[in-house]
């Protein structure tokens, strides 16, 4: 059953490539979007691992990730990235 690990590996690598967007920014929303891609990729990897490792309860882990995926995003939009309050340019990195 281990051959199912190959697609999981390729998705993991693609998600890690998206990591560069978290590092680069430039806006806070770009970083959050990359984190969301991490989340979706994570769900897909968990589903594949459930087949590869013959552990059906991994589907529950993926279910929780899928259900709670929106929460961090909602908190970000409502508590952090608001329009009227421009908290300096903490988003723009000075290298």
């Amino acid at each position: 059953m281990n051959y199912y690990l190959w697609p999981a590996l390729f998705i993991l690598i693609s998600v890690v490539v998206g990591l560069v967007r978290i590092l680069r920014g430039p806006t806070a929303a770009d970083r959050m979007m990359a984190a969301q891609l991490f989340g979706t990729g994570g769900v897909a990897i968990l589903l594949i691992l459930a087949q590869a490792m013959q552990m059906p309860s991994l589907v529950d882990v993926a279910l929780i990730y899928a259900l709670l995926a929106a929460i961090t995003m909602v908190v970000f939009v409502r508590c952090q990235w608001r329009s009227h309050e421009n908290t300096g340019e903490m988003e723009d990195e000075s290298h």
Binding site: P7, I11, V15, L37, V43, L47, L63, A69
Partner: protein, 100 residues
């Protein structure tokens, strides 16, 4: 390996390009709005194909229902957070990219 397993594995393999598309789009596209577009490709089709493949491989209807729920939840979450982000970006007066 049965025929459904084989087809399921094929669907899993088919999902990989969509995740790569999402990642590369996130990296290569010029502004927030276009990157949102790339992101949702991985959410919708990438995960959808993984779910379809897993349903074929697992062969249990209870697991299948859970898998469908996962896909629906991710679709809802990604659609709505996509809207929230784009709306917040527009309110912050971030202009869409134009061909220079």
């Amino acid at each position: 390996m049965s025929l459904t397993d084989l087809f399921g594995s094929f669907l899993l393999l088919l999902a990989i390009p969509f995740f790569w598309g999402g990642s590369l789009g996130l990296l290569r596209f010029p502004d927030i709005y276009t990157r949102l577009h790339a992101l949702t490709k991985a959410d919708n089709l990438g995960l959808g194909l993984v779910v379809a493949g897993s349903i074929l491989i697992s062969k249990e209807w209870t697991v299948g229902v859970k898998l469908l729920l996962i896909w629906l939840a991710v679709l809802t979450a990604s659609t709505i957070s996509c809207y929230l982000i784009a709306n917040a970006a527009r309110k912050r007066k971030i202009n869409p990219w134009k061909i220079p």
